[in-house]
Each structure stands twice: as structure tokens, then as C-alpha cells.
């Protein structure tokens, strides 16, 4: 965190001492009355001011005048007072106070306030984010990201949903960078570990905790102290591990494997999953209480096929410092109609293949060949179905895809039979109920009119 110039105004010497301790990472100055405070504010060198309102016996909220003076001089004014009636809180905000806290929880509140101040100073620059760190030209995706960034400086846990390769880790990193948190961004992919290894990785271990533990190791939870812990693919975590994680999140303490000494860590949690959390809960794969703990604010990132406008900005980004690519119009069309089931990760690999294996302007034939190869590889790895449907199933669920496929088949057969519903029911071996459930609303209406 940057070193700030802070002014603390309080008539209570012990309160000044306590605040000084909480702010010792910064340059702190003190005043005990209105005159001293106004003189110091006049020096124009403070970033943030913490002001008590009643300064001395018989004082009539002179701290309010200090708030006004601070606002005039561009100091971020914060009131920390025991006078916290609704009337006084309102008066302070009317004078321009940015945050009002009742005395008594300074340790946590001071951290929150400074984080918020730093966030307000380092205003989010959308163009900077969307042209390099999270490349997107899609207005809906931009709005989703900017909304999520509003919660960056809070302690609220976040859950990022979206198919694999849609940018969940990149977004988590940006949220951390805009959080103002002093600690590190620590990411872990839960699917990459067995239960035992994940426990050792998250909580750390002591020498001799298990075979091969030749030394002690700090876990990711401790590495994320005062920072952000990003748990990717949290849906793959075992229920047993979820119970242990839940306890660590709730208590902010945990035991490294093989240790009876608890460790403490103040981390903010951001989780991500490509699964639907409600389905995970319904199928017994995710604890409801863990879900409650991790989904403070939920962000849903769309798959690449739903933001085709991003394909070429992403390609430009991937090739910025390498060989630049140009595409024939038919090649562009092929790329835009492709489903990109592996999303941005697949696009990046595709660009690497083209950069290394093609010369000159890229023709449609080269694009189709590479995309076809990519499809073959996907099938070899056990994925089934057409790419577009596969991608849709990942984003909207299998039921939605089955419904869409049924509707398409029924509509096509109806068209082939000139709209004759009886023929379609015979040809597709379906009941009247299934047929009408799949018909568009206007056709259902026309049926009612026919009757």
C-alpha cells in the first residue's frame, strides 16, 4: 500500500495513540483541537483525515467544521466518533465526510477506509483494462467487468462463473489489483490436486506430516494473508475439503497438515467455477453453507461464441509483440461462425498455430483446416457433439441444448411436411404434447385460431 499523509484529530490522547499505531505504515500527524487541526489542514499536505467530532468537554461538534475545511483542501475526510446518532451522521455527510465510523473497531475500519481511499484515487480506467488485461469490445461484458470492479475494494467474497477459458483468472487478478489489498494475489486450481495434496497446498504442512514431507511449507492461505485467495474450479473440491475450507474462511484460522498450532490469515476469497453452483448443490457436490460463504457477488462471464466482436481484438492483443496476422474475408467469417468451445484459451492456441505455420495473409482454407484439427482433438479427448451446442451446453446447461435441438428438428420436419403436424408426429414418433411444447408461440396461437 502507498505511504499516505494522514491527519488524526482527537482530543483523547489514548485515542490518538491507538490510531497512530493502526496507521504506523503511513506518515501520521496529530491535532487535539479545532484550531490545531485547521492550521495543519491549511498546510495542504494530507491525503486522508480521521476526525473526532466532539473535541473536549463542552465542545459542540467542532469536528464538523474540520470536515468542511478538509473538503475544501482536498483531504479525504473520515469521521470516527462516538457520537453516531442518525442526526449527527447525516450532518457529517452533508459537510462532505466520505466515511463515518463509530469508534470501537478501528483496526478493521482503518484498513477498509484506506483501501477505499486508494481505490477512489486510482480510478478504474476502462480503456486500459479492456485493451490489455481483459480484452473485450463487447458492451455487456464490459459492463459486467466494471460492475464487478465496484466491489474490488470491499471484503465481499466473489464468485466468477463462466466456461473454461473465458477469462475468470484474468478478472480475479484485476479485481485484486483494484482492491488496494496489501497482500498477494494467490491463485490455485482446485481441480489440479487430489484431496490430500490440495489440503497440503492450501493449508501448508509441517516437516514429517506425511511421507515425503522433508521440510515445512507455507500454504496458499497464509501466502494470501491480507491479499486475495483465488480458488479456481472450486466445484471440483471434495466435500471433506470443502468442510475444512469453510472452517478456515469462517474463523480465518487453520491448522497446517501435521501441526497442532493454528495459523491466522486475513484473506479475501474469490472463487470460480464452470459449473452451475445450484446444480452442484442439488447434486450434493457442493455444501450449501460453503456456497453461502463464497458467493457475496457473482459475476458471469459469457463464452467467446456469445461475443464474436472480441475475436479480432483478442488476436491483435495476442500478436502485439509478435508476427501480426491478416485474414481473408472468408477466413474472418469462418472464425466468427466457429463456436470456440475452448474460448479464449483455444483462440490463443489457434493464433499460435497460425503464427508459426502460415505465411502471408491467412486464407479461409488455412483457418478451416486448423479449426477442423482443433475439433478432431476435442473429440479425441472425449468431448462429444457439435462445437456450438457443446459451448451452449456449458453456458446454459444440457437441458437447454436438448430443448433447442428438439425444437430445430421438429421445425425442420414441419417445414419439410408443409406444416402438416400429423405427418411430423408420425415421422418423429412424438406425442401431440411434445410437438406443441416445441412449437413457437405464434404457431400455437394459429393452432388455437384454427380450432
Amino acid at each position: 500500500m502507498n505511504k499516505l499523509n494522514v491527519l488524526v484529530v482527537d482530543d483523547d490522547a489514548l485515542a490518538r495513540k491507538v490510531m497512530g499505531n493502526h496507521l504506523k505504515a503511513h506518515a501520521v500527524d496529530f491535532a487535539e483541537d479545532k484550531a490545531g487541526a485547521l492550521k495543519k489542514i491549511g498546510e495542504n499536505r494530507y491525503d486522508v483525515g480521521f476526525f473526532d467530532l466532539m473535541l473536549g468537554p463542552g465542545d459542540d461538534y467542532s469536528g464538523l467544521d474540520i470536515v468542511s475545511a478538509a473538503v475544501e483542501r482536498g483531504v479525504y475526510p473520515v469521521v470516527v466518533s462516538s457520537s453516531d446518532s442518525d442526526e449527527i451522521v447525516e450532518k457529517a455527510y452533508l459537510r462532505g465526510c466520505r466515511d463515518f465510523y463509530a469508534k470501537g473497531n478501528e483496526e478493521a475500519n482503518v484498513c477498509d477506509i484506506l483501501r477505499r481511499y486508494i481505490h477512489s484515487r486510482a480510478a478504474v480506467k476502462p480503456e486500459e483494462i479492456f485493451s490489455s488485461r481483459f480484452v473485450t469490445a463487447d458492451p455487456a461484458t464490459r459492463a459486467t467487468v466494471l460492475d464487478a470492479l465496484k466491489y474490488a475494494p470491499t471484503d465481499l467474497p466473489m464468485l466468477i462463473l463462466g466456461p473454461s477459458g473465458s477469462g475468470k483468472t484474468a478478472l480475479a487478478g484485476i479485481i485484486h489489483d483494484y482492491s488496494g489489498r496489501a497482500g498477494a494475489f494467490v491463485a490455485i486450481n482446485c481441480a489440479a490436486y487430489t484431496e490430500d495434496l490440495l489440503e497440503a497446498e492450501l493449508f501448508g504442512y509441517r516437516k514429517g506430516a506425511f511421507t515425503g514431507a522433508d521440510g515445512s511449507r507455507k500454504g496458499r492461505l497464509l501466502e494470501a494473508d491480507k491479499g486475495t485467495l483465488f480458488l479456481d474450479e472450486i466445484g471440483s473440491m471434495s466435500l471433506n475439503m470443502q468442510t475444512k475450507l469453510l472452517k478456515a474462511i469462517e474463523e480465518k484460522t487453520f491448522h497446517p497438515v501435521g501441526s497442532d498450532k493454528p495459523e491466522k490469515s486475513e484473506f479475501r476469497i474469490i472463487s470460480a467455477t464452470l459449473d452451475d453452483p445450484q446444480r452442484l448443490i442439488a447434486s450434493g457436490k457442493m455444501r450449501f453453507d460453503l456456497f453461502q460463504r463464497i458467493h457475496g457477488y457473482t459475476v458471469t462471464l459469457p463464452p467467446l461464441c456469445r461475443r464474436p466482436a472480441d475475436i479480432f481484438p483478442l488476436i491483435a492483443h495476442f500478436t502485439r509483440n509478435n508476427r501480426r496476422l491478416a485474414f481473408a474475408p472468408e477466413a474472418k467469417a469462418a472464425m466468427q461462425s466457429y463456436a470456440w468451445p475452448g474460448n479464449i484459451r483455444e483462440l490463443r492456441k489457434f493464433v499460435e498455430l497460425l503464427s508459426g505455420g502460415e505465411t502471408g495473409r491467412i486464407a479461409a482454407e488455412a483457418v478451416n483446416r486448423r479449426l477442423k484439427n482443433s475439433g478432431v482433438q476435442a473429440r479425441e479427448h472425449g468431448s462429444g457433439g457439435n462445437d456450438k451446442l457443446y459451448s451452449l451446453a456449458l453456458s446454459e446447461g444440457l437441458d437447454a441444448v436438448i430443448k433447442r435441438v428438439s425444437e430445430d428438428i421438429i421445425r425442420r420436419n414441419l417445414a419439410e411436411n408443409g406444416g402438416n403436424k400429423t405427418k411430423t408426429m408420425d415421422a418423429l414418433k412424438i406425442s401431440t404434447r411434445v410437438l406443441y411444447a416445441s412449437l413457437p408461440c405464434d404457431e400455437k396461437k394459429s393452432r388455437r385460431t384454427d380450432k
Binding site: D12, A13, L14, V18
Partner: protein
């Protein structure tokens, strides 16, 4: 100042001093020996102020 207003101010003082005492107690164990001495002196002053405010309140009843 009315009795009611005086009572409100006294209660404010008590709340304020108690908060400082609580904050100081939480920090105490992590202080150096020198800081502990300084902190203790301030804490004792705060405790005396609280006792005086309580006496004042008592008188008003």
C-alpha cells in the same frame, strides 16, 4: 446546558474513552516495553476519566 444535554455529553465521553481503552488493550501485547509504559499511563488516565464521568452521572440521578 440542560441536564439531558449534559448527560448525553457525559455518556459520549464514557463511550469514547472506553473505545480507546479497548483499542489500547488490543494493541498492548504487540507493543515494545517503552510503548507499553506510555500506553499504560494513558490507559490509567482514561480509566480515571471514565470513573470521574461515572461519578458525574451518579450525581445527576
Amino acid at each position: 446546558m440542560t441536564d439531558k444535554a449534559a448527560e448525553t455529553k457525559t455518556l459520549h465521553d464514557i463511550k469514547s474513552r472506553c473505545s480507546s481503552l479497548k483499542g489500547a488493550a488490543e494493541l498492548f501485547k504487540d507493543c515494545s516495553a517503552g510503548e507499553k509504559k506510555e500506553m499504560l499511563a494513558l490507559m490509567k488516565d482514561a480509566a480515571r476519566d471514565i470513573a470521574a464521568s461515572l461519578t458525574e452521572l451518579e450525581k445527576g440521578i
